[in-house]
Symmetry: C2
Subunit: 464 residues, 2 copies
Amino acid sequence: MPYFDTASAAPLHPVARQALIAALDEGWADPARLYREGRRARLLLDAAREAAAAAVGCRPDELVFTPSGTRALHAAVAGAAAGRHRTGRHLVHSAVEHSAVLHAAEPFDTTAVGVDRAGRVDAGEFAAALRTDTALACLQSANHEVGTVQPVAEVADACRAAGVPLLVDAAQSLAWGPVPGAWSLLAGSAHKWGGPPGVGLLAVRKGTRFAPQEPADDRESGRAPGFENLPAIVAAAASLRAVRAEAAAEAVRLSALVDRIRTRVPQLVPDVEVVGHDRLRLPHLVTFSCLYVDGEALLTGLDRAGFSVSSGSSCTSSTLTPSHVLKAMGVLSEGNVRVSLPAGTGEEEVTRFLAVLPEVVAEVRGRLGAPPAGRTSGPASAAASAAGASADLVVDSLGKRCPIPVIELAKVIGDVPVGGLITVLSDDEAARLDIPAWCAMRDQDYIGEHPATRGTAYQIRRRT
Amino acid sequence: MPYFDTASAAPLHPVARQALIAALDEGWADPARLYREGRRARLLLDAAREAAAAAVGCRPDELVFTPSGTRALHAAVAGAAAGRHRTGRHLVHSAVEHSAVLHAAEPFDTTAVGVDRAGRVDAGEFAAALRTDTALACLQSANHEVGTVQPVAEVADACRAAGVPLLVDAAQSLAWGPVPGAWSLLAGSAHKWGGPPGVGLLAVRKGTRFAPQEPADDRESGRAPGFENLPAIVAAAASLRAVRAEAAAEAVRLSALVDRIRTRVPQLVPDVEVVGHDRLRLPHLVTFSCLYVDGEALLTGLDRAGFSVSSGSSCTSSTLTPSHVLKAMGVLSEGNVRVSLPAGTGEEEVTRFLAVLPEVVAEVRGRLGAPPAGRTSGPASAAASAAGASADLVVDSLGKRCPIPVIELAKVIGDVPVGGLITVLSDDEAARLDIPAWCAMRDQDYIGEHPATRGTAYQIRRRT
């Protein structure tokens, strides 16, 4: 049963499993104690710290273990910003950071640097956002939803030149290699690299001002309060070393499989947009969106067919809004699928996925009454012609959720003449992203949106 | 090799070990995902929450898992105080709370309610400290250093009457049973009951105002950000259930062993003070302090003899101050030993400990040149008499660490006549606690302290 959602949580690496079980017997005691059980625990903790620091590319005394990647990011943003509170309360981050960064940044004055359609920030644009009152800059090494690799080294140089520390969220890339460049802080998450959950890491390079914002605590240099999650820390460090040993070969292998998905999916499934950068990307991750498809139904269909994947569609979110990453990229969010292959994924699993996907998509589209595959638009329908179609049309999609507003638009575009205007009324957040994306995919003119008595009015002019 | 420091961290319970290993295979995925691995993880998480809630005595939806007991306390203090910020910023807590509570309370206006010599708060005195601007009250169920059980139910009633929520730190007692009474919030720590590290729990009863102070996060009702430490949570819940099943019988058995230590230690070792309540106490924990002994040397000696114990002496603390608990109780802190027996401790291990302890104490005392055992004082020494001892004496102990200032005082008390005054100059924090404690144990009059040119001058009048 292929599990293709490593970007959420990787299955435990066999080395992590072994190390964890061994450390249960040797590493349960308090490493702050002086008796033998405590000394044993301390030795394990020190060794894990050294191994993790070597993999990150920092000194062991610059690295602490936190309870999760999320908590590492929270502590990093709060601690680094507080360390420079005299400079100001301004933070710069990309628009596609992980929600842990965005939420931690909420109390501050922030500038979100936009990304291109591939999800990549421009280093120059990022540098231009730095101000004299910027306390901290944040940039992920690679995006968690679309896999696009960010220009971290260039941005780090710009930050250094401006005297601003750069925090790198390396959660998605740490399995593949150290983050290059002159970053100041870095966060990672063990369960993304095959370690157990319950372990994050936070590196703060010497010379970086840092004032921990949590209550005082002796452990982990005062940067991560609470008893160390020791057996899991040992397992996390061991598995990081293990995945790194396999990383170069596995990256080549998985990258070829991802290329196959990137190429074949649009050939096999009509009306698909593959999103994210085609070269500057993580080796194991690919994301695409399918027109006229409900993301949750697609995930359920793939799950029934034995494939576990993730989605940034609004229907799979608790807030019913599409992923902020897809939104920032301006790409289609409906029928969104993220495939992230675990190490060891075989070619035959990908072959089977490519065999199953078209059927599942077709089934969902059929159920939703989607327009025929690949139809751009067409002549005015017979009914419309007979009735002498008016130039303009209003589609009331109020109360309907993604992908229905887009399906209804697609169905009626042929009912207006070329040059005719369609107004779609919708109160679904996904429409804001998906109606313009549909227009771009279908070569129609997206005019814009304005508030309506209820919901929002989206205007489209038929071009073809 | 007997490990007698369960109050720091209990060895992993066999049930926890089994459950953890099983959950590594079933519970590594993201419980927020809808595919089969995620659903399996969600089932495990829900079952663990139900089991933990049943053991705590709350509803499953009132309980969240945190990364540690410390983080549960931090979140509880910050969240409950913020939830009632309109009431005020005043917090009431006992003087002997865990440092996690004291540090979390630092940003607030606090009243520390004192304890008696047994380490127990008086419920009436606690109630009297509640004010109209009190946002939160905090009381441990039992003390972590001396085992004294606090009057939680009475204090909870008083808090309820005053409309103030009570947070109970139940870290030390949860293995033994639920906390009685109308508390509002409760925190616990899995590695204290034989679960793995990396898991704490926080219960917030319905109707308690609570405003999480960490960055927003979907997980654990927004009260504990970050990916759930799932295999460890499963193990924590399983072991809590397991230790509870054995608790009643084990409490009787260990309590008898502790009573034996409480009785025999003062008989076997001269100049010992057993501290903590003799009846209202945890079943497995006993603490005593040995005059003229260096706590660190004592721990090292016991470790060499195969016993792992803990200490609240200043020399075993990173800040070189004696434990705030012993300080609040006004008891001797030098040569302090905390014995906390794990479940399953045999009688023969305690017998062996009682055989070894006197030798180890005697060895440390011999090395430090301590006065002969049991000597209260004596006639003025021959030298002093011959010289025509002056009525008063100054002992310069500046730069010397615990227990040297007390040893030097004990050595010269015989050199002044009854009624004579001794002034001990010391810059060691432990002297502030241990000189008065020594006077109480030795029936000498402690006059008081005042600042000296260097350090502090402690004044003692010879009475016997």
